[in-house]
Amino acid sequence: MKTLHVATAAVAATMWAGAAIAGNAPGVTSTEIKIGNTNPYSGPASSYGTIGKSIGACWNWVNDTGGINGRKIKWISLDDGYSPPKTKEQIRKLVEREKVAFTFQTLGTPTNSAVHRYMNKKQVPHLFVATGATKWGQPKKFPWTMGWQPNYQTVGAIFGNYILQNYPQGKVAVMYQNDDYGKDYVIGMKRAMGDKYAKQVVKQETYEVTDPTIDSQIIALAGSGADVFVNISIPKFAAQAIKKMHAIGWKPAHILNDVAASIASTYKPAGLEKAKGIISVDFYKDPNDPEWKDDPETNAWRAWMDKYYPGGDKSNKMNAYGYAVCHTMIEVLKKAGNDLSRENIMKQASSLKEVHLPMLLPGMYADTSPTDFYPLEQMQMTRFDGTRSVRFGPLISAETE
């Protein structure tokens, strides 16, 4: 907030300079920055669309409070229905017809894969993509693409290490979603556990997003006699798993992936009592955790939700995610000042130094360098005690090689 005021004050002074430089930068005028985005607003993946919506709401707030360095943000977010060919079409529309300065938070692994080479060929910043795959951080090969969240393989590795330390003799059961997201966690676990993975994992099961229930998988996993359960699933199936495990009386150490570690969208529907003891990792605040009831940052988030995204669901953690990622972009644009050329935007994005973002867990920051295109790499383990996710252990910073 404070910096925004400073920025507003500086507008008048820098206006002329901005106009001069911005004239050469695509998608930028003296009054406006055009940012492109694709999100699944329709179709089977539409539940993720709220990220795009919350970012849109964030830009509305930015514009209401004077913009960035005097420029308003023109946010063009298009629907791709989570279909890669459609993403290609929409991205080309954004780059070639709308002539956006860059794209930001385009959502999905297969969808971003479809435009990965295109964006780098066109040399348009493809910033902070909304996917946890590892391939978004290859500055040598793809200097225009950058991820944002801690990648799934890193989380998988954290789980693997946790098992090695705490259950060196444990029998492990793994369930994951049968797509790139699920498989990346398994890759990370395998990386951390080495040949212990094959020894300790006694049963693996997968599910499809179209599966009505995962009861059958849970029964099969329970039947394996495992005492550690690594559950890599989205909230709906995580909640189903918690319920079913309780129903059949299977009580292993339950390690749940960060995607589903949400009090309002997983634990509460499943039953808070049943979710007790679940171990997970996190990097941003769950607004529904009582720990953040009076947290000023979370309160600011709530006030923002009420004013700018009233149709949004405050129990949905993804809206906090959208808010935090939007602030990363704001930071980059502010740092870029009036040189909003694509090169400079990329340069600023790859030189974030310990930037604190609202809604990140205390002590965490975004950090990049020209050789490190993974902005967020810190996480902390949590254990759900029936009312709140209690953080324990140190901040884990799993540098991705």
Binding site: D211, P212, T213, D215, Q217, I219, A220, K236, P269, S315
Partner: protein, 290 residues
């Protein structure tokens, strides 16, 4: 052995979910001689209405009944407003409208209620009267409700004049008019009843899979398959088909092919069944002598 029993029972419980939706599929098929692709999304929307009523403080059974009434009227309204004007359009044009309705209901639910999963209460007691880890009370309840609905639908189509007239109106509308049946009214009634049956299915399914706009996507697939494999004209067949899908999927996933390809496997089995019984397990081949 214990594992096998558990898998079978869980398959049956899932099968009851598919069966309840398959019943709605048969209901509409008997009434309009066509499969309604929007059935799943309509059921989802109905369930959201019930959820909203409960969230506003209505007791479960009040919400249940009001939701049935709204669904019934809504189903009739869809027939009257959307399908009556294009009654003479070819069947595939109707299919396009079904697809359109699917999109509309899905998007509207997302717009109104967002996509976070919602807990939907179960009307059944929290504990079974006997001690078991094999099956939960709600699962037993679904099986029971599905069988009750089956009985009601069977009696309706088999023994009531209106049920008979509805089948006649769907299969041979012109002849139906000639015996004094108002085909228009039958269509409306059929849509209303199918929507109500779908609403019951939705309210039974939601406590298991959690309520969200996309909850019916996969279930419709299985319900459709169950109804077709059982024979689209036979409510009993649809229920058997639904149970079959559930058990087949659970056992195939565990013992045959692994969970990655279990759906594919189940569908292949079904297609194989259809090759030997092209009208489904219990469907009667329509024979007509000329």
């Amino acid at each position: 052995m214990d594992q096998f029993l558990q898998q079978t029972l869980s398959g049956l419980a899932n099968g009851a979910i598919y069966a309840s939706l398959a019943l709605a599929v048969v209901m509409i098929y008997q009434a309009i001689d066509h499969f309604n692709f929007a059935q799943g999304e309509m059921a989802m929307f109905s369930t959201f209405i019930a959820w909203q009523l409960i969230a506003w403080g209505a007791p479960y059974w009040v919400a249940f009944v009001v939701c049935l009434a709204i669904s019934f009227i809504g189903g009739m309204a869809i027939e009257r407003i959307i399908f009556a004007p294009i009654h003479d359009a070819p069947a595939l044009s109707h299919v396009v409208v079904f697809i359109a309705l699917t999109l509309i209901f899905n998007a509207m639910a997302g717009f109104i209620w967002e996509f976070t999963i919602k807990e939907f209460p179960s009307p059944f007691p929290a504990e079974l009267p006997f001690e078991t880890k094999l099956i939960g009370p709600h699962e037993v309840g679904i099986v029971g409700i599905t069988l009750i609905m089956l009985g009601m639908i069977y009696v309706f189509f088999r023994f009531t004049p209106i049920g008979l007239a509805m089948r006649a109106a769907a299969a041979s509308p012109e002849s139906a008019r000639l015996v004094g049946i108002s085909v228009k009214k039958m269509l409306g009634l059929g849509w209303g009843l199918a929507a109500a049956v779908g609403a019951v299915a939705g309210m039974m399914i939601a406590p298991v899979v959690f309520l969200e706009p996309n909850m019916m996507l996969g279930i419709l697939l299985y319900g459709f398959a169950g109804a077709v494999v059982g024979g689209l004209t036979s409510p009993g067949g649809a229920v058997v088909g639904g149970f079959l899908m559930g058990v087949l999927e659970a056992l195939a996933g565990t013992y045959v092919i692994g969970s990655e390809l279990k759906l594919t496997f189940a569908l292949v089995v079904i297609v194989a069944v259809l090759l030997f019984r092209p009208a489904g397990l219990f469907g009667r081949v329509v024979v007509q002598r000329v």
